[in-house]
Structure formats: C-alpha cells, structure tokens
Amino acid sequence: VLQRAESLALGLLAALLLVDAVRMTPLFPLLMSRLVPVMSGDYGRALGLAMAATVLLAILAHAGTALGTSRNSFWAAFSQISAAILPIAFAAQLALSAQHMMATPEALRNLLAELTLLDPGHMPPPTAYSSLWALKLFQIALLLAGAIIGARIARNTTHRWRSTAYAVGTTVLFVALFLQPMSVTC
C-alpha cells in the first residue's frame, strides 16, 4: 500500500498533528503548569519533553497496532495501518488549518497596529479560547469523514478489527480535542 518510509512519515505526521491540536486547547497550559515546576521552572525543557514523549508514544501505538495485526510482515502491517491513518491525518490537518485561519483577522489586526496603521483598541480578544459552533461542526465533520474512509481502508487492507479500531480510536482522540475550546490568538 505504502512504502516503508512513507508509512513512518505518516506516523510522524499524525503525532505532530496531535501535538499541535493539544497546543491549541486549554489542556496545554494546564499540562505545562504541571510540567514546568517539575523541570525546575524551565519552560523550554518542559515543552521539549512533552513534545518528544507525545511523538514517541504515538509512534509506539502505531507500531504496536501493526504488530497486533501483522500476519507475516511487520512492515506490511505498518504500511496498511498508516494508509488507514492517512485520511484521518489529512482531516486533522484541514481542521487545524481552519482553526488557524480563524485567528487570521487577529493576526492582521496586530500587524496593522504594529505598523501604526490602525488603532485597534484592545489588542487581545476578550478570551484567548473560543468555541465557534459552526467551525466546530465543520471540524468534526471533516474528522468523521476521515474516520469513515480510514476505517474502510483498514478493513479492506488488513481484514483485522484491531486496525479498524485503531483508525476509529485515533479519530475519537482528535474529536475529543477539537470539542475543546481552541485558541484564536495563534
């Protein structure tokens, strides 16, 4: 289905998208407020550790599912799992892009203010996080579409319930994150 390098790259992409999605939610400052004191107050080290741990765990989950579904070749199963994840990763990327674009008016306003072309009033929005229901509906619809396609690919390629469950589970994780209020300031 996919070459090995592509499979690995997809696993990495899904992990990085997960990191970015968490960063956009109020879970992120909550997590950092617990980690930074443990890292002797070093924010950078805490952030690096959290990112590295998330990426490693995601890759391990990916590999573990491949091991659980492989009949003969681990890499063949890994490739099939990655193919199932591809539409979900694409949907998550689109959903995150839509969220970032919602911050565009704010970013443009800040830029014009820094160029003193605009007196914007309050620079930050009243709240850093928001839940625009229309945007949320769009994001959830994207993820569900990705899940349906991913589950079909998993069923058709591996014929094992574990890979379908992995695809669905990944989507559930992303949906849970996107249901949180998300930042409109970055």
Binding site: A5, S33, V36, G44, L47, A52, V55, W75
Partner: protein, 168 residues
Amino acid sequence: MLRMGRCERLSIAAILLTVIFSAVSGCSAGSTPADTPSPTDEQPVSGPPGFPEYAYRSAQALSGYRIATARKALLIRLPCYCGCGRDAEQFKNLADCFFEQNGGYKEHASSCQVCLEEAESADRLWNDGASVRQVRELIDEEYRGRGKGTETPAVTESDEEAVRLETR
C-alpha cells in the same frame, strides 16, 4: 531482528531526529530562569505564590509574568500601549495588565503580545542600567501608536528612588 533497507533506516533516523530536535529546541528556545515567585524573595511579590494556569500559555507569557512579579514597581510607572487604555478604570499602567486591583494575577497579559513585549523591553532596559525615566522614554518611543495608551503619570524623582529601592 527486523531487516531494514536504507530507506527505513533514514526514516527512523528522521523520526529520532525529530524527537531529539523537539527536546533540544524546547531546551534552547523559550528557556526561562527557574525563579518562580515566592514570598521569601527579596523583591516584594504581590499576588499569591505560584502562577495561574494561563501564565503557562507560552514561554513568553511565563517570562512576562515573572518579570511583572519581579519588576512590578517599574511596570506601575510605565504605560501600556496594547489598547487597554480605552478602559481607564481597569488599566492605568502596564502592571494593571498583569495584576488585579487586589494584587492577584490578571489573565489579560497572557495572550497580549504588546503587554508581554513591553514587559520584556522594560526588564531588559532596566537590567542594562537605564533609569526609570529612560525606560519610560524608550517604551513610549517604541510602542506608542500600537493602541490607545494608558493614562500613566509622568515619572518623577521620587519614582526613581522608589523603584530603585523596591527592585534592589
């Protein structure tokens, strides 16, 4: 033992490099000193010990709140140009972006680039040996025009002495 071709080894290397880069870039960028506030610090600290959750929104936010805690006396003498001056009741100076009237922390600055940058600039200028008046002039020069500034009184001689004593 899994047999891997060159492509797989390169991909695994790429993943490992990403993980290492995440860890290293986190260490090198946005590092802040471990000076979490404590009532036992020499500088007077207003507000409860420890920072609220929103201060951890970014490395810059955490740095800003640390600076605000350590340099509150200086920030009180500086205007804020983020636009909060439109609400003259709540915002009279840069410190009001970080602290409530009762001394507790305020969320406003945690997502305001201008407030955080002003605090960083003020701290840097103060550490470079600038007087309160000089810091005020440079802040005015750099940030005026970004938004309606707060109506902060001009710096006087007594302010210079007061800030020097409170931030020693």
